[in-house]
């Protein structure tokens, strides 16, 4: 019998080692799996490569991982939090800056068995020409740059080659889920969650409501449980907070 529900988030997250690559859902704090991120902090994991659209605007969620010095590299489109950039320019965390649509498609592709694809986004820019600083040394000099993208012409337009992302783990949040791992999201909290879930070799989903198996109509399931390995309950939801614009 399949039962992916786990009562203890910290015990579940213990299987994530330091140094792991972790894809995380959410758009700012909307749909962000804070229960799982907090558990990762409690497990004291470090040197993480975190793939997420934003750091957010405060020290909760991804911001907590950052504040506690747990992130080695961030792959994101819009980090936002000023303290993240302090860490980046000081050489304590690397930044792989990716156009938002490319990030979403890289996660989807990785989970869909597509190793790479061409996209027009970013062609001819410093995010594709190998010049963007991936990291700095302690003296403030550029120590590494993002890889130059292979360019190719399709129909007279320049495109760049981008690789699918297969993450060691994925942390996502859904509104409803059942013990088979079937998930249903709510409004714009869906965002990157199904895509991050697809990209993970092992995916944790926190849900606001655990539903009985069969309660979710098959047509109403946004992400089937085949993409989800463990289901946990989200702790109490946060009030809405206005964040800085993207």
């Amino acid at each position: 019998m399949i039962d992916k529900f786990r009562a203890d988030a910290v015990a579940a997250l213990a299987r994530v080692p330091s140094g792991a690559t972790v894809a995380v859902g959410g758009f700012g704090s909307s749909g962000r799996p804070d229960t799982l991120l907090d558990a990762l902090c409690v497990c004291d994991r470090r040197e993480l490569h975190v793939i997420v659209n934003n750091v957010g605007s405060d020290f909760t969620g991804i911001g907590r991982l950052l504040a506690e010095g747990r992130i080695r590299r961030l792959t994101a489109s819009f980090p936002v939090l000023p303290d993240f950039y302090d860490e980046y320019f000081a050489g304590r965390v690397e930044l792989e800056l990716i156009p938002q649509g490319t990030l979403a498609e890289r996660l989807r592709a990785g989970g869909a068995g597509i190793p790479a694809f061409y996209t027009p986004s970013g062609a001819g820019t410093m995010l594709a020409d190998g010049s963007f600083p991936l990291g700095y040394d302690a003296g403030g000099a550029v120590s590494a740059r993002m890889a130059e993208r292979e360019h190719r012409d399709f129909g007279g337009r320049e495109h760049v080659l981008e690789y699918g992302i297969v993450a060691d783990f994925a942390l996502v949040k859904a509104n409803q889920g059942d013990r088979k791992g079937n998930l249903r999201f709510r409004l714009s909290a869906r965002n990157f969650n199904p895509l991050a879930a697809m990209s993970g070799r092992h995916t944790f989903a926190e849900v606001e409501h655990l539903t009985g198996t069969g309660e979710l109509e098959p047509d109403d399931i946004h992400l089937p449980g085949v993409f989800v390995d463990e289901v946990l309950l989200a702790s109490a939801r946060r009030a809405v907070t206005a964040e800085r614009s993207s």
Partner: protein, 227 residues
Amino acid sequence: MTRPAASAAIGGRSRDGIARRLAMDLRDGYVVNLGVGIPLLIPRYLPPGIEVILHAENGVLGLGPPPPPGQEDPDLTDAGKQPATLITGAAIVDSALSFAVVRGGHLDVTVLGALQVSGQGDLANWYVPGRNPAVGGAMDLVAGAREVWAVMEHVDRWGRPKIVTDCTFPLTGRRVVTRVYTDLAVFHLVTGKLRLIECAPGVDQRTVRERTAAPYIDDLDACGAGS
């Protein structure tokens, strides 16, 4: 039609005036993505009878106005992470499908603020070197939307032209801009050539010429119209 002058010295449109002028060019049924800043002023100036579908990068098709205080929903925000509402008939998608809408040519127009626009339609709007880099969906939007309309002040705070021969700020996309709306004028890019379409009320062609660094074709000369 005439708006209060943005600057007593040279006249021209206010930020709201630019938004109102641009709104006149949106067609009924358009699917539109609006960037932050002046573009977000546009919905309030849509002419009667014109319905557009507003797209937000985080997966909303059919964004409505901001919610009244106390009715914010943490599961519903716009691309600026502000509380949002939906219009009747709205749809929600994930981020990959949201950008399939963008890159797949299903957006009629994206309206974006700009640091610089070149005479060939290059756009720089994502990064000022020395500041904190963040790109969001800007590069996808300019690569994918059928039309890219740049909205900006005609000159920067030091009076330097923002319509330039070549962008000095890092590019968001090459040859992507199709129209430019400023406080002083409206330009179209037609087959890679910049053309002055109109001057703002109270602004003459010489004023626009003096404040535009890129060469352009003056369509007002061609058809004998003044400003």
